[in-house]
């Protein structure tokens, strides 16, 4: 499903090229729950951003569903983010002022789904994450755990092929961490491919496969 061959990523800083990913080779199959662990600054998030079409790679090959997506235009990348990828952030990144329902329905809005359909789908997802009673609450009034569940619902709303989670429990207490991880586990059991970045070793027990990263390299 996902294949990376000799992927490099460099950032230019003060006139110098700073390598972040060095010849990353990676293959993730359908239905895997893959945890990527490593110390801060080892390139986990950069890798996730490239996988999620949020960033471009400097060189190498990136194939998604057998399609070479190494060089995509902004519009094509947005299309992938819209239809193929669900993203869960450590800091939730919900839009304050909007209700939980509106936040979850937002990706469908940009995809051109009719209001009635996107509202129904968003409600369905919020019910799945146990927030059916709080669909009309503004997200800023929800607890951290609830906000992350809204974010998970948003990531799933467009029925993506893969969910990318960047430290999804980083800002949560133990109780909410378990709730969120159980949710991800349930989603995985339904057949969804999940790629999760974390530095919490304990979370790797939920994963079917663990990848370790060090200085821009993947060590299986």
């Amino acid at each position: 499903m996902i294949e990376m061959v000799d992927v490099k990523k460099e950032y230019r800083l003060y006139g110098q090229n700073i390598p972040v990913l060095n010849d990353v080779n990676l293959r993730i199959d359908d239905g895997e729950f893959c945890a990527i662990i490593g110390r801060s600054g080892c390139g986990k998030t950069t890798l996730l951003n490239i996988l999620g079409f949020m960033d471009s790679l400097t060189s190498g090959l990136y194939k998604f569903d057998g399609l070479d997506v190494s060089r995509t235009t902004a519009k094509e990348a947005a299309g992938f983010r819209q239809n193929k990828i669900g993203y869960i952030f450590q800091s939730f990144y919900l839009i304050n002022g909007l209700t939980a329902l509106e936040n979850v329905a937002m990706p469908l809005g940009y995809a051109g789904v009719a209001k009635k359909n996107r509202t129904e789908r968003a409600f369905e997802l919020l019910t799945r994450v146990g927030l059916e009673q709080k669909v009309q609450n503004p997200v800023q009034k929800l607890s951290g755990g609830e906000q992350q569940r809204v974010a998970i619902a948003r990531a799933l709303v467009a029925s993506p092929r893969v969910v990318l989670a960047d430290e999804p429990t980083g800002n949560l207490d133990e109780e909410n961490r378990d709730i969120v991880m159980n949710l991800l586990s349930d989603i995985h059991n339904d057949g969804m491919t999940i790629i999760m970045v974390t530095h919490d070793m304990e979370l790797t027990r939920y994963a079917s496969r663990v990848l370790r990263m060090r200085e821009g390299l993947i060590l299986e």
Partner: protein, 393 residues
């Protein structure tokens, strides 16, 4: 696209509390700009009007009744008076006359100086005008019906001397006329307005013995000696006083050079207010662009999130463009509304300042141009990769 517009409207209403000061600045800015433009355009119009009045080497003398008021009877300067006066003052051309005619039971004032001006209005025999008696009564000491220059503009007859705006109606219309005193800003409704079919006016002109005049206008060569001009004025006044002892008459005149001097004033007004408007437009536009970009940067978080969940840069661009357009046009339209109230107050004795559609178009177009500039700059911001945007917040 539809969702982008939906979001833009949502953001617009949600952020009104944050953007109200931008709107207030725009209201003030656009109101001032619109007033300046109105003043400039009105001065330009007045300039052209004065230009049309200039007849080379002609000096005009207006003779009129000084002490007319609501309680007086109306003076009855007859056509024969003006024939005699013409003969008396050989070097003057009695070509303008302000008529008051008795075509009905009630006396009323015909605002046109003569058939020449009547023709200028472009009325045909099937047209009619309403002329109200009470208009003359509201004029105070000045005999406002002594109007020697008038023109048709947007269906309104703008009377130069009296600065009244009268409306031309199609024949058989029975609406009452609303007379606007452009100097004082008062709006007067004539209660006993009379419908005068144009063919009756023409008929009255031909059977001039029936016409009652309230004033006369002479034209004499511009280079006539001032002593002679003074003599003519005195002669006219004494002649009319002899004939109509109940009234006092006065005469005033204006040389071409004097009209040209007024034209220069108008030109200066036109130029200076136009440049002030342009300068203010640039300042307001720059201020608005700055403010809009501040708003954009403050909202970078939500924009980055939208990008991350699949919005295309084009969708976000459209969203922001629509939001900025709504915000700017709110300020622009409210500013124009404010200027519509202020503009009439700017009228003075030299120039009647009116609201102009051209002003509205210029200010609205300026607002639209500003929106496009804001959007052009913001478009560059949206070109960044979402990861950098989202991790930069």
């Amino acid at each position: 696209m539809r969702y982008s517009l939906e979001r833009a409207f949502f953001n617009y209403t949600q952020n009104l509390k944050k953007t109200y000061w931008v709107i207030v600045q725009l209201i003030v800015g656009c109101a001032v700009i619109a007033c300046c433009l109105n003043y400039s355009i009105s001065s330009g119009e007045r300039y052209l009007e004065l230009l049309s009045q200039i007849e080379p080497n002609q000096y005009r003398i207006d003779a009129y009744v000084k002490n007319i008021n609501a309680d007086n009877d109306y003076p009855a300067i007859r056509y024969s008076d003006y024939i005699e006066l013409s003969a008396l003052i050989e070097d003057a051309d009695l070509s303008y006359i302000a008529y008051g005619a008795t075509l009905t039971e009630e006396p009323f004032y015909l605002v046109f100086a003569d058939s020449c001006h009547y023709t200028k209005l472009g009325l045909t025999n099937t047209d009619s005008i309403y002329v109200g008696k009470s208009v003359a009564r509201f004029c105070g000491d000045e005999p406002c019906f002594l109007t020697t220059f008038c023109k048709l503009e947007n269906d309104s007859i703008v009377l130069d001397n009296a600065a009244f705006s009268w409306k031309a109606f199609p024949a058989e219309t029975e609406e009452k006329i609303v007379v606007e005193d452009l100097h004082s800003g008062n709006t007067l409704l004539t209660e006993r307005s009379i419908l005068i079919p144009a063919h009756l006016i023409n008929q009255a002109m031909e059977t001039s013995e029936e016409m009652l005049g309230t004033g006369l206008a002479f034209k004499i060569p511009d280079d006539t000696d001032m002593t002679r001009i003074k003599e003519i004025k005195e002669r006219i006044c004494s002649f009319l006083s002899d004939r109509h002892g109940d009234f006092e008459f006065a005469a005033s005149g204006e040389q071409t050079s004097e009209i040209q001097s007024r034209m220069n004033d108008m030109k200066i007004n036109y130029d200076s207010f136009l440049w002030i408007s342009v300068f203010l437009m640039i300042i307001v536009a720059l201020g608005t662009i700055g403010n809009a970009l501040i708003i954009l940067l403050k909202r970078k978080r939500s924009l980055a999130i939208s990008l991350a969940v699949g919005a295309t840069p084009r969708q976000l661009f459209l969203e922001f463009l629509s939001e900025v357009f709504l915000t700017i046009q709110t300020g622009v339209l409210l500013g124009l509304a404010v200027s519509a109230f202020i503009t009439p107050q700017l009228s003075n004795t030299f120039c009647v300042v009116k609201n102009h559609v051209l002003t509205w178009l210029i200010v609205i177009a300026g607002g639209t141009l500003t929106t496009l500039l804001v959007s052009a700059v913001s478009y560059l911001l949206f070109r960044t990769e979402p990861s950098r945007t989202i991790h930069g917040i």
